[in-house]
Symmetry: D3
Subunit: 324 residues, 6 copies
């Protein structure tokens, strides 16, 4: 259950209306890397973690809730940046002041002039924020990544926080309002904190590479296919040990077409660079399968199922329901 | 700011997994009339009301917050209905039990078989809910209606609650699980309550018809154009007084093509049925413009602007910011 | 079947091209509250009403057809507002006049300059309207609400008309062209008329509350959950009788967390405020189910089925088909 | 203006409900090649043609109107194929017959069972058609192609009719109902007719190749780049005269990488195969620019502008408005 | 398999940054008629042709690959047109130069000012192209038309090339940069070439009309329904022989409503204008069905299936797989 | 420029058609974590890296090209899994075999029966793959994350590879075909390789935390807000040093509402846990700004700009164009 606290988490203020910046800021309200995306991503992931990993559930819900609180901060700021538009629109019988204004020089005229760069504020939302990005594209449920595996989900979350951070960084270039910069600074910083929370949570799961349960086929894990002609860049991403464990190294396939024909489309390719055989990989697959499926299945109640207890006294849940 | 309470607002339970019903229930998780749509619609509307109509702001935020809490109930129920899928997927090295199962007869086989009707649970979400409707279409910010005028927004809300209610009504036909029916009954009922809240709030604003500020042109308000041939239905929607005030009545235009030509495309059409002249309507426009724009403008602080005070001791807000 | 009449329903005129207003006006051509949405919503709803409620079918088709006629008026106006763009584009070999123009002062230069605010007119549509909103987002079938129940659909329609009305009201602030204002005034007024048509049609169905067939659970219908901290607004939406029938009243739940724990997630909550027991509600459910399903089922022909007769001499339909 | 005729253009009938085929048929109601797409494409294109090419405007509006009439036929057929679902849903208090039915053997049970393959009919539309394709994806304004040039638009239309035709051809494989097959046969045939209408209209515009105004650069028009390795297919599309005028022929570039380097990224490429020089092409550009821009500009009234006259006595329009 | 060649197919250059034109040019990067759409359309169609029509497969893949190479040219040009934005954004600690700049006069200031017309470059992509159109709408898989029949697909391709051509034609009006115009001229010309390739390929398939396998019903193929009132345009699209074979001609239905009633919704309509009887059409259907299904089925290997051989020595494929 | 090699990178084979698995596999063809998303994400990112980080450009284009090659493998596999559908559809005159088949027992019947679970193969694509996910939702450009900063983009890529990997892992549970499993194994393994490539590339950029240029505000970086009631989970993500450098640690805010009020919405919050002061952070901001903007700006040619040289002899580029 959620509870709304009237105080904003951060004391959002603006010095004066600025519809143009309001439009840019929509990117973090209804955009693909914005606060609603973050809130919904962690919220949806939390359901899947609830049963077998209640500690991660608690963490995901904490951050989802904080992101909802940030969504409120962003919406409040946009609303204050649009102040004046709604009052002007309500003066509906005054026949054409806005059009005249657009060639004018006074602050009110400038206000409307700027707003015309994002027409939805004027003709659709009436001075409200909207769940679109800065270009007017509606928010989409497809922005949310939740795939039922924490070693995947937490990496999606680290990436999401990275993108949210850079968008706040970019946004700061487009306002001079010290109050707004202050709010952006807070929000940008919180993305960094959440990045670290997710990194720590990921580190607490072992092993977490490769993501998921299955190992890769050692014939193909260490190969780098040079898919382009001419001078090629070499570096730790395609030569030497790179990020592999000691004794392992990259295999650089200089001429993939030749290699593909010679290996009958990789069917005949040997293991190069990897430290284990296909058989060893398969053995690991079985161990990991047993480990992960046991973790999940053992946390599942038999028979019926109840999400919360009243009061919820421990993290563990859901429980088998008490039949009434 | 939001706060998460670990107890669900309603004690959601399920008797046994049922992936097929989970798929149907997605309609209320990530569908166009579902809980996220409701939560976001009232939340977004609330920003616009905050300044001039703080009482309505408080109400909209209460209900937005309750809808978020319902979203959680729906997500919890879907997750419990999908129990078993994640554990099966984690058993990744076990090479093909699921395919074999699909022709089988045991409950586990049936479980997976049903899930194949909604493949995203199996190959994308890994047994999590997803922000899509029952057909897999992602949730869209375009579902949210917020137009900066409470006489419009509250009508959008009454309609939204009506649609949410009927979807819960339909859903009840597709489950036999008494626990799930119990939860659906609670959620359906709350839509009725919210309908009544919004109706009362709309009634408390006077006048609220027509929505917005401007009157209609009396030449066209009372006309019903019969746009089809043959036998036509007549009723209070196109004859007699209908929903108009005493002394007014519908004007039925039997042959619109003839009428359009005769009136030079309505330019020469007289007032029929309406109780006031264009001049009287225009006078009302001016009065309403003054009233509504004054309400809004007078609530706006001069200069800078601060959304909350700490603590927030009254409903009024935002305030002029204290410069630091 | 539809028939096209070359005369517009309203004599749409423009004084001079104005691409910027053309872009704003797209909101009512291809936007979420525009004329295509309205036309398609009533058209789709009409199919469902055809059988059991032919009088409502006739009304819905009349208004759908009028909205299509309005879509044509809006498209014609946009086209006239864009006059000049296509001719300029056809002068394709003239290498760079438009770029030069953009810094210029003559009306033609200004025309193109304005058009750059909505680039699709220049590089995609070649001076045609497009089925997008004012921000370039394509029209979506998801805008259409049709749920197979007139007590729901008509409320969706009242809300849709309210939104369309306010968008026309807002649009009028952004043009000085008396011809265009005249057209907007007509279109805005017709939304008010349709609002009243739908209101009257809804009133003619009894009972129409709650929407759909089922009653709410009396334990939850009258409860208002105060989901936020601090000073709370009270009014007819959460205290006293409000919109309920005599003898009934709101139940205000001051502290939902406490209440949720005490009622074991509402399972133990008593009826407060409502005028009927759960049993009485259930009895009403059965009566309404019988009534509504009988209305629908009795209107359905046995065996095969034919939509129209030739000529269609009465409202009733569809009929059992005459086998050839 | 549009007028609705109660008789369907084709006598749509069904022998018995078939929700599964109703779901497939949605492809032509709200899908990318369906009737709404066709209606809207020709309707939107018509606006652009109205002024300079009123004969084509008349044709486009005739066919747009017929496609709307086909949309109605498709919607009526879907509705009849879903008969029974709405009546069953209205029987809402009957607690669980549908779930029981799903394992049953009677026709009614089978009906619902089939409907579960397209859940939106059951839980969202209540037995109505919906503006989605057969997979539940909402119709999009992006389906509509209208680019302000008839030599382009008519080719878009020929392609659109081809796609609509093949979808009707495919659909016929999935129904045994002789009535439904009859209707599909009519609709498929009309797509062929429209194909021919558009072909004739395109042929009546000369020259119509290349589409638009400008010629191609003769250095690049006749070149075929062989972008793949190994055995390559040769045919009239990359050797000999192919579709070019006499004396012209394809230039086959066997090894594009070599050619690109040798021509400094095409900058030094000579004319091969084409019958005219860049200068001659440029001269043609100027002639066509003059011709097409004159056609368009000369049809444009000076000053204000009125779409229709009352009555509309000739094809020509719009006219300069009579100031009132 | 694809291989990347570092040299662009055309030597793309720009004289100076121009973010406004970069935004317009996005239409061909991520828009509905742009290079990705073309590349993906031919690529997807190629799969379906691979088996029965390997020569067409080779051609479709050649052009798909060239369109990918054009996508790269467009992306490179947009990137160069945005040069300077990323460097400015990286100077993140410099607190407000960009806002100040917006009122300034130097080229750098102008650069940013222009960029504000397309905010995604500044706050989302950081100076990168994005897969959206010029209005910010994301590219959609729905742009791709591939229907499993070359007589349909090639017509979709001719139309797609026509649209791509006109968009490049329009774009040329909005830049003065001779380098950019040079690149646009190359790309526009290649669309003309591809148009001709597809036309030749279509001509090489006989018969190719009507598209697909089935003939139309001769009662309806030649009918033109005059769906509008008033003066109507007549021409080769609705009178005389038009595009039909000798001895055939259009049937003009002056008053469709009357005709529909008289023919009982077309059931009783005779053949007029067409040169063959329904029986003859049906015979042709059977012949074409046999021909086309034989072509496809005979190209299909029995049992298992392998897409490529290593090396791929002939066009034919896929083959039956050699079991390992 | 791209070049197509007729041999697939992996020898894709299938044992027999399986339309149901073809539908699931669409998730990796046109889904949000599929091969087109990967190819386009790295391709779009590459443009931004081209200038200042040509080594990363080379790597991104290599992997983009490999992902395109994987898209081809997936499309080829889907096509082979759908073998038989197109041939059946071409037999169009055979009136109703498919419907009859659906109750049958032979393999061909079963084939079509399965295909009905994904109707687009039958009525839209004619047996081709389509650019949708497994639920029929079209691929969207919004799936692509490219934000103009490699410390962000590479993290988006690591997450994308993680998601692609888990989807291949899940898919393997739903096929028994050893050939298909072999192909899925190869594709899954390559995602792991790419994960490592991106990890190594990210590690080669120092510093890479926080992503982007700016430090966080030390008052807020180390704070964890406990946004929920009841028992809370503690771990390295909210207590102790966690992922921070030595001497730093998390600050746990037990009661955020109280803290928010006491700090006036964080304005008065002191630094806790972080190892540096706001001033030190600001100094770092300036250093990083200088470093990163210099890297980018110094790589930019003055004046005009040319993407490739012919031949491209080094990685560096783009260059100043040689004026012709």
């Amino acid at each position: 259950m959620f509870h709304h606290v009237k105080e904003l988490q951060f004391n959002a203020r603006v010095s004066h209306p600025d519809p143009r910046f309001a439009a840019l800021l929509l990117e973090q309200f209804g955009g693909g890397n914005g606060e609603l995306k973050a809130a919904m991503q962690y919220f949806v992931q939390a359901f899947g973690a609830r049963q077998a990993y209640p500690e991660k559930y608690d963490m995901l819900m904490d951050i989802a809730t904080e992101e909802l609180s940030h969504l409120e901060i962003v919406g409040a700021t946009i609303t204050m940046l649009l102040d004046g538009i709604n009052g002007e629109l309500k003066n509906a019988a005054e026949s054409n002041p806005i059009m005249k204004m657009m060639d004018g020089k006074t602050p009110k005229e400038e206000l409307i002039h700027q707003a015309l760069m994002n027409p939805q504020f004027l003709v659709l939302s009436g001075g409200n924020p909207q769940l679109t990005d800065s270009q007017g594209t509606p928010w989409s449920g497809a922005y949310v990544n939740a795939n039922g595996d924490l070693t995947v989900d937490l990496r999606s979350d680290i990436a999401a926080e990275s993108r949210a951070k850079i968008v706040y960084e970019y946004l700061q270039k487009f306002t001079d309002d010290p109050y707004v910069k202050e709010t952006l600074g807070f929000l940008m910083t919180r993305e960094i904190s959440h990045f670290q929370v997710f990194q720590a949570a990921l580190d607490s799961i072992q092993p977490n590479f490769p993501p998921g349960v299955l190992q890769g086929d050692p014939r193909f894990t260490h190969a780098y296919f040079n898919m382009s002609n001419g001078t090629d860049a070499r570096g730790p991403w395609n030569q030497g040990q790179g990020p592999w464990t000691t004794g392992e190294q990259w295999e650089y396939i200089e001429d993939p077409l030749k290699q593909v024909v010679e290996t009958r489309g990789e069917l005949d390719k040997p293991v190069v660079g990897a430290g284990k055989s296909p058989e060893a990989a398969h053995k690991l697959d079985k161990e990991m399968s047993r480990k992960r499926s046991t973790e999940v299945k053992s946390a599942m109640p038999k028979g019926d199922n109840q999400w919360s207890t009243y009061p919820q006294e421990s993290l563990q849940s859901p429980k088998s329901a008490e039949r009434s």
